[in-house]
Amino acid sequence: MARVMINLPPRAKRGEVVAVKTLISHPMESGFRVGTNGALIPRDIITLFTCTYNGEEVFRAELSPAIAANPFIAFFTTATESGTMVFRWTGDNGFSTTETAAITVE
């Protein structure tokens, strides 16, 4: 299970633009490196990251091998209503991790 860190303000005013920062532990092996036996190390990356806010998708990113190990992705969203944000990372070799964070809108 990959370690995940999410940073978003726990409370926000209605209509406020909040910063969302996410970090997940993952090697992001590019598939272009040569291992000790001289053969290419197979690719193992996260290919898709999505964020839904109360069921509605607010952010989606398609990742490539050029994203650094332990992908850090930060973006903005508008705090519309109290609820949960669901973050989902999917990738090679059946990798899938989901994390949720709550936000209270006043």
Binding site: R33, R60, A61, S64, A68, A69, F72, A74, F76, T78
Partner: protein, 161 residues
């Protein structure tokens, strides 16, 4: 062709390439190293994103350190000037590069709910090169911004020996 390759490749990359080639000869089933992306490949990747629409310069700011020591993690922020209203907003932000093994770096889809058209991440760079960000607007226009980065330790091609 060989000359231009030699001038862009660092000595280290060259050594690794040679080693990889030798290994490839020894074990014939080993796959050949993929060629590097070129500025032409980047232009092609941008054309794939933009399609028939024209690409205009401006509105997109690419914030990346001009000199990075370690190409394995290069912090990068893209921000696009846009009111982010229902009528006028940024639909997508793409990042491409010149000299990594593949030109494509990241594609993101956002919408008016984002409030601010901005994206931060960390990328790998295999060489000193130009990085380009392309923003797709809701009216179908495309805007781009670019930054030149000098990398002292390259990513991607380092092996584990």
């Amino acid at each position: 062709m060989v000359d231009s390759l030699l001038s862009t490749a660092t000595r280290r990359c060259l050594l690794i390439r040679t080693a990889g080639f030798a290994a490839g000869v020894a074990v014939s089933s080993a796959p050949l190293r993929a060629a590097r992306a070129t500025p032409q490949a980047m232009q092609e990747a941008i054309r794939r994103i933009v399609g028939e629409a024209g690409l205009q310069h401006g509105k997109v700011t690419l914030d990346v350190p001009p000199l990075v020591e370690n190409g394995n993690t290069v912090p990068l922020t893209v921000s696009v000037e846009s009111p982010m209203s229902e009528a006028d907003h940024v639909k997508a932000i793409h990042i491409v590069n010149e000299k990594n093994p593949q030109p494509f770096v990241i594609s993101t889809a956002i919408g008016p709910r984002a409030g601010r058209a901005s994206l931060s991440t960390r990328i790998k760079l295999a060489d000193s090169q130009e990085v380009v960000a392309v923003a797709e607007m809701s009216d179908g226009s495309f805007w781009s911004g670019s930054a030149d980065v000098v990398v002292t330790i390259a990513a991607c091609v380092e092996d584990l020996r």
